[in-house]
């Protein structure tokens, strides 16, 4: 069975839910403290939270810890690396994904459900979605305002949309460039998403749309 590491830094707080969602998607999952090693795993997930209390910039300090060298190896070897919320912030700060996450346009913490349009179903994480499909997941962040100087060179995976899939200013919760909610690296094996798929992985939670992301990741790691 494939095994995923759920990487835990001081201040990470979505690790248990993420572990559970990966198991539900059919893989082994284990929480790994950042001082340990990632060897013997098939992929790594950086869950949400507030690593190092978001001091300096969200994700900045976690991104410079030694274990990130191992995460970089995973990325270079083409193995799956998924960053959710604070994990996304860490991946951009580490240079594994393009762009930066700035404080929300209206500087307050946002915690609510959003609609997303699937812009790219060609990554291992999004292969179980239809292109253009509208899905629902929650966001919970203070610094999710995605910025990149040249968006045409970025692999956009999810965009904030309205319920019909229209990419509008009103549907953009945080001011992200082009309503960007998730991006992948060129190869597609590294994904960063501000919306939380683990919080949409059970009907009890209000949506199972996020579970398909983990299922796609697990299926792909099996091959």
């Amino acid at each position: 069975m494939v095994r995923f590491a759920v990487l835990v830094f001081p201040g990470t707080n979505c690790d248990f839910e993420t572990e559970k969602a990966i198991r539900k998607a059919g893989a082994e999952a284990e929480r790994v403290w950042y001082r340990n090693s990632l060897k013997d795993f098939d992929g790594v997930v950086l869950p949400g939270g507030f690593s190092y209390a978001d001091y300096l910039r969200a994700g900045a300090i976690a991104a410079r810890q030694e274990i990130m060298e191992e995460v970089k190896e995973f990325a270079n070897e083409g193995r799956p690396v998924l960053g959710i919320c604070n994990g996304f912030q860490i991946l951009t700060e580490a240079g594994l994904l393009p762009g930066a996450l700035r404080p929300n346009r209206i500087p307050r913490f946002l915690c609510r459900w959003v609609h997303l349009r699937v812009a790219d179903n060609g990554t291992p994480f999004t292969s179980l979605y239809e292109p253009g499909e509208v899905i629902r997941m929650p966001i919970a962040h203070g610094e999710g305002n995605y910025y990149v100087d040249d968006p045409s060179r970025v692999r956009i995976v999810f965009q904030y949309s309205d319920g019909e899939g229209n990419i509008t200013e009103e549907a953009n919760p945080n001011g992200s460039v082009l309503n960007i909610a998730a991006v992948a690296n060129e190869r597609g094996n590294v994904l960063g998403t501000m919306p939380h798929p683990e919080r949409a992985s059970d009907r009890f939670l209000g949506s199972e749309d996020g579970l398909r992301l983990f299922r796609g990741m697990v299926e792909w790691a099996r091959k």
Partner: protein
Amino acid sequence: MKWRVNVTVRLKEGLNDPEGRVIGKALRNLGYAVENLRVPKYFEFELESESPEEEVEEMCRRLLANPLIHSWEYRIEPVS
């Protein structure tokens, strides 16, 4: 040799600074004709180094700033 270092990191021109906007608005509400308020980050520390300029520049690039969205400047003085 020991140095006293002051580093200022600010968002690049043209990038929206939400915190600055809110503080500027609060000052305007108090009756001051404030415009374009920005909130830079300021760091001060002492550094033992033979090549302080080089090291401080590197520190900014590697951690204190995000070169994609920030610019920075610093002042380095010997500790007497």
